[in-house]
Symmetry: C2
Subunit: 122 residues, 2 copies
Amino acid sequence: METLDAVSALGALAQEHRLAVFRMLVKAGLDGMPAGEIADELGVPASSMSFHLAQLNRAGLVTQRRESRSLIYTADFDRMNGLLAYLIEDCCQGRPEVCAPTAEAVSRAACCTPPQKKRARK
Amino acid sequence: METLDAVSALGALAQEHRLAVFRMLVKAGLDGMPAGEIADELGVPASSMSFHLAQLNRAGLVTQRRESRSLIYTADFDRMNGLLAYLIEDCCQGRPEVCAPTAEAVSRAACCTPPQKKRARK
DNA sequence: TCGATAATTCGAGTATCATCGAAATATTGA
DNA sequence: TCAATATTTCGATGATACTCGAATTATCGA
């Protein structure tokens, strides 16, 4: 991940509502959640939530797919892993012997693997 | 680390200059760097840099100590580790079996351990 | 085709961020 | 005590960010 991508991803997560959304979407896994449900759950007006979802989307941290009338948002686990890897490498940069093994472990372990597919929502 | 602390730390890193400063300070290790040198290195006016350093400081990602006329800034490795741990837990939240071992590995390895003390600057 | 549902885009208001020169503060050495 | 150095704080400016109601777009079922 490039530095500018990291800045953009960090900025997307650096907001209370958006961090909450992302946490929620991680929990939801590959099924994702419709915009309206996210907004309801967090008690934020739909138009405000739409703004935040667009930011997360632009930063690549969530993807969007239409399912009938709903737009389903899903966390992008690869992207989040990319950010984590960047931060860990960044953090240890110039001193790889200190924690490169850890960075390596993280990237090998593919930390943010989406959980196995769940049942379709009722 | 609490969610609001994470938002604040993420916000501090979500800016090109500040991310560059943090990278630089990580490289510098416990010795840290004086504000002026940081500003020079990045080609940013001193007053602008002071603003950014204050933000990093407020977010707890750097500490400040006076050494004669200079203010030396140092990366706070514990804080950065806290942020990484938060993000990794966050990312895997509700599905610990997927990557808890990785989070554990990261925290055990103390990824952002400051490198051993270097020579005093000339 | 029409009404209902789900969401986004628009517009306007307020707030916070980023920038940078000038002025103020802290420290040192002579 | 005074000039020089290192840095911050102040003030002003322009740019983004956040909020949310109203208007618009897309889709579905009858």
